[in-house]
Symmetry: C4
Subunit: 304 residues, 4 copies
């Protein structure tokens, strides 16, 4: 029985060539179809959407709920609300709308206040809805603000750089944020397209062995180095081979975020056209006169 | 001394045959008796109950607390509340009820407001209770909404499918949600009923070795494959054997949810009557014209 | 150089005999002295104190803050608060107190409202304090309610029970709550007092090897078994030896709580006087007529 | 190909000598330059700033937002707010400011209340902003209060102490807080400056092997001991060598906080001038007459 080849969970057979497996922002280049409403989690959508979309959704929700309650107060009759004395029907509706918003947010100025039984009961229900609804809205808002998010920066290009007596594949990472990341672990894979036994093209995944797979601290930059020795799948690969085999280097970095007390992950990929040959990274930090280390974030990808 | 047989924590001796160990939704087929009030955690109950039951509980709690405070205000005397001027006793009670609800939710219109000492003190206490009580209610509500919940979908059936030169047991999993799951690990066990030394039937648990126990990424489907080679406990087992030995395949999948920064687990089981023989899974994704991958969630269990 | 003896972090030399290392509720029998205010975390104190103490602290805080603000309003002058018209100075102070409580909880009926500059500014500040202060109070309250707390029940006694051809030390654990615990791991240690080289008594710690250190699932009971074979430190130990050497069995159980998505720990200990000799545990669950498993929590420690 | 030397992620080449790698408070002695606004996470800044700065930011934000809304109400016209009747323009502006603060905090006394269309709409918007904005402010406040923070205390000095027949490097740690820490793991590294092949000075990192790298419990003190045997990089090092090679001992302690259910980390370092030679630690705990253990936090660094 043949040994199954390594697969990180991206499967091997595709009908057509794929432009890119992992996008530069770390997401997968996959579109999902056939998602039913049961599979779509409103929390996930609201926490992942853009800030503009999020605030627009909140405002829209606020307007819709107020319109619904305003209509109910209006149907009950505006004489049940003390303080409403507008001359036209439309103005009276607007006043119920504002009364509704004062109830929902629990401001309750009292300029308008319920006096009939039905209006009082509806107002009690609305203030309950307000407290509960705003709990979800503000929880989502705070969840978005406080969400632990490592921002690990990667150098723009990978390098094929001199290393000991040979060469190596190198790229550089830095913690762009000031939170404390510790115990980092890097996983680097090479993905290539190979002709398969049945003539079809087939994806092949190979782990690239690193000089150092783990670091404990991460206050400066980390240069991740894969030595291209004879045991490396990159050994002898020319610039042309990289292109022909549609090579893509997939990176997963895992770290413990000591500020948020959580494990964080960063994904990245480099394609065959994101390599610089025969270059070295320039140092990104120096010691100043006081003996303190200074890290220059802008020099992350600087080469010499 | 005899080596103890493997047991995943489900014990081996039962007086009668059990219909199913793990239900299709992943829960255990176990009922608990003798739970005292000290063992029942109200938070757990409220976070696990249905949405209907949860909102009914909130509304009931709101009504009960308001009724209690309304009764207290009424006992103190409605003359201590400015703005109450209903003609009948029942209407006056209702007005204390609405005043209570305005205090509890901190709306406080002021249409009714406390003026006596006792009413003022009670209102201060009620607003304190309101703030604290709603903190628990809204925390529970948001906890329910934001609870990290992987929805790993499993194919309806397991297959006995061709594999290399032999056959294999296969099932397929997919992440039904759009959150990012990484570093998945699958544990698959076979549970059978075997005649024991003392004549009694005894449960037997055996780990099924997998072609691939771990994947790093999970953007597409994952076909979990147990090769049925001579070392497999399934080797040579007929459809009839499966039934006679009441075989059940227990599955535990563990993953790291990168969106919620937490470890998530999914349980599932297949019984002897949830196997298709001599079938293969059809691919559930394809590459479109732009070179992007498209995943069809509906094709998760599709066979050919 | 001599090999250091095993120590789980409880140190070995004590000047006097210790009654008990780990209390029945899992806490350590250690009192801390010399704790400065910098070491005492108010959050930790408030989250660990009794419910009575917690609510008393909240109420006391509410009264103190209101008294402080009431005094300030009173010093500014009650003519700056519209709606205050009590005849006596004390009654006017009480009215500022109630106004303060209406501001702090943001009820704001408006029966009393600020009209002067200083009172308005103070009211704005107080409502800000109220919102912030209640955020901490309600956060603490919800933190107490929602705190993940495994309640693993242990059998009242440990047993020296027959096992295969010999005997074993056994105790039984159960999940008293309905949350889902998985991947349990047990650590069991024997602590004895031994005469040391320099004549002084010295604590000795030894790991007790278990028949099964891990279980994956925990829907029923788990009988934790240490076989007393010739390699066991308990081999040949009589009831008298247990007492003379002040033996205590320390237990640490670690589990993943799938409901709260967190790791939970349970500690327990059995002293030499909490052992039953030559007994067996009675089964704590059975299969009912529908083929469902029924677990009887009350039978956790039942022996035959 | 030469084997790369060990590096915990702090890199090896520096242009000038560094005063200290890890500060006494556990932070790294690194300044960051070139941080763009995209890299600066407001949540991280607000959660890490001093308490004074935090409250000043909150108050400033409150004043700014109220001033903005007050200006808008003033531009709309104060006749749209019922209850404003100050004689001067400045006083009227102040009254819109206080109305704004009553709306933002949702107190809403009603002494001033909106009656025009524009004022009502703006008030509805402001109360929405207030609820959302305070959710972030109070979330941050509670996040600061409840943030899990182990306070592991370290002895002021490291000792070169007698040990078995030789000597050892020792320091002592204690949990200064009353939360329960378990499963501690210590990593201790020696950092020295060594002349490199190319004449330049180069940092060298070496792991110091510990007598005991892990403890399960941590209710008392933990003396972390590195035996200086012939295999130790410290073997034969004199006080003068420590200074000349700018030696610094880097410490990382990892623990599971059972109270907060999270992993916590503590960093510390000792420089060559923070060593006491030929001393021993005095015991920091004793057994009292009732047989209970008493831990004296003040004796953590006491030597004899």
């Amino acid at each position: 029985m043949q040994k199954p080849s390594f697969d990180p969970g991206l499967t091997q057979k595709f009908t057509l060539p794929v432009t890119r497996m992992i996008n530069q922002d770390g997401s997968f280049n996959v579109r999902r179809r056939g998602v039913t409403w049961r599979d779509s989690h409103p929390y996930l959508r609201l926490i992942n959407m853009s800030w503009l979309g999020f605030f627009a959704s909140l405002l829209a929700g606020f307007l819709v709920v107020n319109t619904v309650f305003a209509s109910l107060y209006y149907m009950i009759g505006t004489e049940q609300l003390a303080g409403i004395n507008a001359p036209t029907a439309f103005r009276r509706f607007l006043e119920t709308f504002f009364f509704s918003s004062q109830t929902l947010t629990t401001v309750g100025y009292g300029g308008i206040s319920p006096r009939g039984l039905a209006a009082n009961a509806l107002a009690a229900l609305e203030s309950l809805c307000g407290v509960l609804g705003f709990a979800v809205a503000t929880g989502l808002l705070f969840g978005r603000v406080s969400r632990p998010s490592a921002r690990i920066g990667f150098s723009r290009f990978m390098l094929i750089a001199p290393y000991a007596e040979g060469v190596s594949l190198q790229f550089r990472a830095v913690n762009r944020r000031s939170n404390s990341l510790v115990e980092l672990e890097a996983n680097v894979m090479l993905m290539t397209v190979e002709p398969s036994d049945d003539g079809e093209a087939k994806r092949r995944y190979q782990i690239l062995k690193l000089e150092r797979e783990r670091v404990i601290f991460f206050p400066l930059t980390w240069t991740i180095v894969h030595p291209i020795d004879p045991s490396s799948p990159l050994y002898g690969m020319t610039q042309d081979d990289w292109k022909r085999r549609q090579a893509e280097v997939l990176i997963l970095i895992k770290a413990y975020d000591d500020t948020f007390s959580q494990t964080v992950l960063a994904r990245h990929s480099y394609r065959h056209d994101e390599i610089l040959w025969d270059r070295r990274f320039a140092p990104a930090f120096y010691v100043d006169e006081q003996g303190d280390l200074v890290l220059e974030l802008k020099k992350l990808g600087e080469v010499v």
